[in-house]
């Protein structure tokens, strides 16, 4: 495993410890810590202000789902959706521990109900539906609850006419739900088409790591796809590949920068610029409500406006102010600077 990968694993363990100790488990306690990459020291407060990016070297630390929502939107300004859904245990699965115990432990350690948090919020004053994964809850793995909440987020965004912002951070499908976890890949991919049918965009941000069944389903189907620096993005992880094929992988295998070169993502975006970047792209994609959807209504609207103008001119008794208001435009069409 690469140096970066090992260090990130360590920092996630650290994050879990901190989350376990804290009174408000979703927020990390403020304390001294050091960057695993450059060894510089900083306080927890400083870290939070800097969106958990090392101020010295730009190393991106893991971020919990609720802190993500605060980073992307206004402070405290989000409404969580369907927080009540919890995992069942259809296989009565046991590996080193029973699945039921693992879920209870994850709930206690993270203060979360599942590995995804869905919410309504505003990103740079644009209302969106967000589906944010949390790697601290069982490696962000996708079982039936993650699949269902993601699908509901798609439905909800389509119904409300809002864009969907997805933040992926996941080891893949949740092994403990067996083939039913696999089926969530189909469920999420199908749900994305509800949004497509409604003409609403999906912005996907790939955080470290996005692998397995999550990368091979909704996470690779964004209309616009950003990756955080250094994020591992892969279907099969480096260890599995090295074991199966005996290939020696390059140190930056599957990392965001390399996946950009491979043509798998649109850009590598620093977390401190993420909200701005998402806001910007949503502004570009925003269709004014008055904008015509096709050429036919445009023509109809234009004719209507001209007719109103002619009628206004044929009514000599009207005050000038009223006539001004009834003239064609402003709006789409000739004479107001748009073509």
């Amino acid at each position: 495993m690469s140096r970066v990968g090992r260090n990130i694993t360590v920092s996630i363990d650290r994050l879990r410890q901190l989350a376990h100790r804290a009174d408000r488990p979703r927020r990390l306690a403020a304390d001294e810590r050091s960057c695993p990459r450059c060894d510089s020291h900083y306080s927890g407060d400083e870290m939070q202000r800097n969106l958990r990016v090392c101020p010295a070297c730009g190393h991106h630390f893991p971020v919990t789902a609720h802190e993500r929502l605060e980073q992307l939107g206004e402070p405290g300004g989000y409404v969580e959706l369907w927080p009540e859904l919890r995992a069942a245990d259809p296989l009565e699965f046991t590996d080193l521990k029973p699945y039921a115990v693992r879920i209870r432990e994850a709930e206690a350690q993270t203060g979360l109900g599942e590995a995804i948090v869905c919410a309504e919020l505003e990103v740079r004053h644009i209302p969106v539906v967000a589906a944010i994964m949390d790697f601290t809850f069982m490696g962000g793995s996708m079982g039936a609850v993650v699949g269902e909440k993601f699908a509901r987020a798609c439905d909800h965004a389509a119904q409300r006419g809002l864009p969907l912002v997805v933040l992926a951070a996941s080891g893949g499908a949740r092994m403990q739900e067996g083939v039913l976890a696999l089926m969530q890949m189909a469920k999420t991919v199908i749900a994305l088409d509800t949004l497509a049918d409604a003409g609403m965009p999906v912005i996907v941000v790939l955080a470290h790591p996005t692998t397995g069944g999550v990368w091979a389903s909704f996470a690779s189907l964004g209309d616009v796809t950003y990756a955080e620096p250094g994020a591992l993005i892969a279907f099969s992880g480096p260890r599995v590949i090295e074991q199966t094929t005996r290939e020696t992988l390059p140190a930056d295998f599957g990392r965001a920068e390399r996946q950009l070169a491979n043509g798998q993502v649109d850009a590598v975006v620093d977390r401190r610029e993420l909200a701005e970047r998402i806001g910007r792209v949503l502004h570009i994609l925003d269709r004014p409500e008055t904008a015509p959807q096709s050429s036919q209504p445009k023509q109809w609207a234009q004719e209507g406006a001209e007719r109103v103008g002619r009628v206004a001119q044929s009514l000599p008794g009207l005050p000038r102010r009223v006539m001004e208001r009834m003239r064609p435009g402003p709006g789409p069409g000739p004479g107001n600077g748009t073509e």
């Binding site: 409404v79 259809p90 296989l91 091979a216 189907l221």
Partner: protein, 306 residues
């Protein structure tokens, strides 16, 4: 009508008998071994017996041709059908050539290209699933293995023609699901269908590749269980002793079930078929809602948030 009612009383009676029997098996590792039996009929063995004529198509039109995935047009019960499936090899040379049935992105892109052909010409699509998983290789990753699988899932879901998937051997991981989003999912009596191969699961969950037997026990990947969970609609019986004992008989039974499924699907309007397909996958996966008790995932519209 739900997909579960598919095939009428006969199929259900056979299925009920089949799903009871494997419950008695105490060692699911044997099921895994049977699903992987070297003499078990593979995709091309079935195609050769199901079709009176078959033309294999090659290449993804983007980069290359993946021998781990076969696709083509065949004549089935006097009508055209598109067949797509992973292909394993029997001897060492052929296994290597077929990459052990582990397709790369070119395989899934070939599948999509042929699905597109089916859609254009209004031909039903039948997929035959038999893979330990999609290929885990550096080259496959760099050419977009993840996106190839997700887009294959998407392409198959978007088809308006009738679609049937048959799990004929080993159905593991996203590599299997890439061909699995069908109107009807059939599964052979001794096939397995799981989120990952027992070896893969063992390495991840037990941190020890030697615990595959335990993993097989935990994943419960049998046809009986998949039927109970609603992941498959029909369990297809095999000749006594397993499909490897008699390829012709095994293919003959698949033929009957496949023909029945396609005939049934042909009578459903395309829009209804697609809606049912969406609802079928939306329902999969039980969850707990503290307000509503234990239940399946919602089938239709989302409830309002609260």
């Amino acid at each position: 009508m739900t997909s579960r009612e598919h095939g009428g009383r006969f199929v259900r009676r056979v299925t009920d008998r089949l799903v009871r029997a494997p419950e008695q098996q105490d060692d699911l590792w044997e099921s895994v071994q049977l699903a992987r039996h070297a003499e078990r009929p593979y995709t091309l063995d079935y195609i050769a017996r199901l079709c009176t004529d078959f033309e294999e198509l090659h290449g993804d039109r983007l980069y290359g041709d993946d021998p781990a995935m076969v696709a083509g047009i065949g004549r089935f019960h006097d009508a055209p059908v598109v067949f797509i499936g992973q292909q394993k090899g029997r001897d060492t040379q052929e296994r290597t050539y077929r990459n052990f049935g582990m397709a790369g992105p070119e395989g899934y892109r070939k599948a999509m290209r042929v699905m597109d052909l089916a859609e254009r010409l209004g031909i039903p699509v039948v997929t035959l699933i038999d893979t330990p998983g999609a290929f885990p290789g550096a080259g496959a990753e760099e050419r977009g293995q993840g996106g190839a699988i997700s887009r294959s899932i998407q392409a198959m879901w978007r088809l308006t023609v009738p679609t049937v998937a048959v799990v004929i051997g080993e159905g593991s991981s996203g590599g299997a699901l890439g061909l699995g989003v069908a109107d009807r999912v059939l599964m052979l009596e001794n096939a397995t269908y799981s989120v990952i191969s027992p070896e893969g699961g063992s390495a991840i969950l037990w941190r020890d590749a030697g615990k595959a037997r335990l993993a097989a026990q935990a994943f419960k990947p049998t046809a009986a269980n998949c039927y109970r969970w609603g992941v498959v609609d029909v369990v297809v019986p095999e000749p006594a002793g397993g499909a490897h004992t008699d390829h012709d008989e095994a293919a003959g039974i698949v033929d009957q079930y496949l023909h029945r499924a396609l005939t049934d699907l042909g009578s459903i309007p395309a829009a209804d078929r697609r809606r049912q397909r969406r609802e079928r996958f939306r329902r999969l996966g039980p969850l707990r809602d503290p307000e509503g008790g234990i239940g399946m995932a919602s089938g239709r519209e989302s409830p309002p948030p609260g």
